[in-house]
């Protein structure tokens, strides 16, 4: 197993991602993510000083649109798809208890 990643770090990342993982799942995720970090460490070990950093795999820049309004979605149709709605708005559980 990789020593690049601890269980605690995985628990923290899982909490940030709102994933409710069992102890077993944490073990497995720690191992898999550790393997990935090992792989990146292999890449890190290469001398890449002559290679331009790549921000984006596509060889294009400046994809933009004009500032022109287009029709919106129908509110009632959208809210009908939400678990709960009230007063034309999405109704969600209390936020402080919800945040971690």
């Amino acid at each position: 197993m990789s020593d690049r990643l601890t269980n605690d770090a995985v628990v923290k990342v899982a909490r940030l991602a709102r994933l409710d993982l069992t102890p077993d799942e944490i073990e497995r995720a720690t191992e898999k993510l550790g393997d990935m970090l090992d792989h990146f460490a292999d890449i890190d070990a290469l001398d890449l000083s002559a290679i331009e950093p790549m921000n984006q795999p596509l060889p294009i820049v400046n994809v933009m649109r004009d500032d022109v309004v287009e029709p919106c979605l129908d509110r009632d149709e959208v809210l009908a798809a939400a678990p709960q709605a009230e007063d034309g708005r999405f109704r969600v559980p209390p936020i402080i208890g919800f945040a971690g």
Partner: protein, 478 residues
């Protein structure tokens, strides 16, 4: 010039500001729904705003242009930039991430000069999308604490923002207020935002810390929910005092996000500050880099209007008033300086025009309905000594009410005729006779004593005497 510094009990204050401004575009940053305040909830929504699977963001070119305008007006370098995802869970952002700029912001390394002559560095001004609006139901006064549930309106989600991050160069609450005022004036002048703090289109967060002068920077707290320029100063001052009390009691400051409560005038803990790591920033895979060409940057730079600082200098030089005087500041704030120059161009006296603009034109906006030539006519009468300052005020009020007119005719209709000098000389004689003590004190060099003499003459002439002329006669007699 000197810069005001706030100190208490041997501590100095260090403040950096983060100002979010909503851009004055027609549509959102990455989708074509309207960017409009005050619409019915959830009417300006589309698949990108809702974070529906498969929906792809497409960058609004005009938003980038407004972002560049802000950067250039703040003396920043505009550079090639990328977008990143800032991940966090909050129901006002259905994607569970905000598209922002992290490693390569659009604008870096600028500065803002304040009217007092101090300079505040600008670290960066980057683009990002706004979140939706939450209304908390149950609990006290719409606060998030104790709420039973929340209602989400996503009209604002995806509205383009520029976040302007200052360097920690601010040393007093007044300087922070002045920064916000000056920034707001610039944003309005360049048409980048309507910058209304009360509507949330300009939001100020303050990073506040204290330290012994010369020491390393102290631990900072970020103050949110500061909704007016006045609150900016109050919140910073409260927070600095709180931190000093804690340090003096031997406690340490925890890095926190704190909430300013306008009602009780205090800051309250909102949450311990997240590390940037917790946001797990990574490059937004659905957007390509933006590389503004030199031509585009030059064209945007060339399109910038004259900025408030330059306009204040221009008006101050034309009138002889101090560049940081209230008259110059308020007239430029209202955008009436061009009107002042129009009065000048119409043959009027710009100094007298500024006096009238400062008071009588406060509510008239950048383009007063009164033709500049009519105000010019009035100022000529004043300069020629045909109207006193008090009479001129009355005529100005009349001109404004009528939307224009001939100042001389209005003055004549009101029976305003300048007194001739001999009449005034007689009044001065009478005043000296009536107030011999004041006269002696005045002659002995006590200038305050002149007030009693001038007052006597004003009363005797029922306000018709020209104060300046009276002063001149009194000084000549001395």
């Amino acid at each position: 010039m000197s810069q005001p510094t706030w100190t208490q009990d041997g501590y100095e204050l260090v403040v950096g500001l983060e100002v979010h401004v909503e851009l004055a575009t027609k549509t959102k940053l990455f989708s074509a729904s309207p960017n409009r305040f005050g619409d019915e909830p959830n009417t300006n929504i589309d698949p990108v705003t809702l974070g529906l699977p498969g929906a792809l963001p497409v960058l609004n070119k005009y938003a980038v242009e407004l972002g560049m305008r802000i950067g250039l007006a703040l003396n920043c370098t505009v550079q090639p930039c990328t977008f990143a995802r800032k991940n966090y869970f909050y129901p006002d952002m259905p994607t569970s991430y905000q598209i922002s700029q992290y490693e390569d912001p659009l604008n870096i390394d600028g500065w803002l000069d304040l009217p007092d002559g101090s300079r505040v560095g600008i670290e960066r001004a980057h683009m990002e999308q706004d979140a939706g609006k939450s209304t908390h139901v149950g609990g006290g006064e719409g606060r998030v604490h104790g709420a039973e549930h929340s209602l989400i309106d996503l009209n604002r989600a995806g509205v383009p923002l520029v976040e302007i991050v200052s360097r920690p160069d601010i040393r007093s609450p007044e300087q922070a207020r002045s920064f916000v005022n000056e920034l707001r004036a610039i944003l309005l002048t360049i048409g980048a935002s309507d910058a209304k703090m009360e509507e949330g289109s300009m939001r100020v967060d303050a990073n506040v810390s204290v330290r012994r002068p010369g020491a390393e920077l102290g631990t900072r707290c970020e103050i949110k929910n500061v909704n007016s320029v006045r609150s900016v100063g109050r919140a910073i001052e409260y927070e600095a005092r709180r931190q000093i009390l804690m340090l003096d009691a031997g406690e340490s400051i925890r890095q926190q996000t704190r909430h300013w409560d306008e009602g009780d005038g205090r800051t309250h803990t909102l949450r311990d500050k997240e590390d940037a790591d917790d946001y797990r920033y990574f490059l937004e895979p659905d957007l390509v880099p933006v590389m503004p060409s030199a031509e585009w940057i030059d064209a945007v730079r060339a399109s910038l209007p004259m900025l408030p600082a330059a306009r204040r200098t221009r008006l101050a030089e034309a009138t002889g008033l101090a560049v940081d005087s209230e008259a110059i500041g308020s007239i430029v704030d209202r955008g009436q300086d061009d009107y002042a120059f129009a009065v000048h161009d119409a043959g009027g006296d710009i100094g007298r025009a500024v006096v009238h603009l400062k008071e009588a034109f406060a509510e008239l906006g950048a383009e007063p309905a009164l033709p500049a030539a009519d105000l010019a006519g009035l100022t000529r009468l004043e300069v020629e000594g045909k109207l006193t300052a008090t009479q001129a005020k009355t005529v100005v009020a009349e001109l404004i009410e009528q939307g224009g007119g001939d100042a001389a005719a209005i003055a004549a209709a009101k029976g305003f005729e300048a007194m001739d000098t001999s009449e005034l000389e007689t009044m001065v004689d009478e005043a000296i006779a009536a107030q011999p003590d004041a006269w002696e004190k005045f002659r002995a060099g006590e200038n305050k004593a002149m007030g009693a003499l001038v007052g006597h003459i004003m009363k005797a002439s029922r306000g018709q005497a020209d104060g300046k002329l009276v002063t001149r006669i009194l000084n000549a007699r001395k």
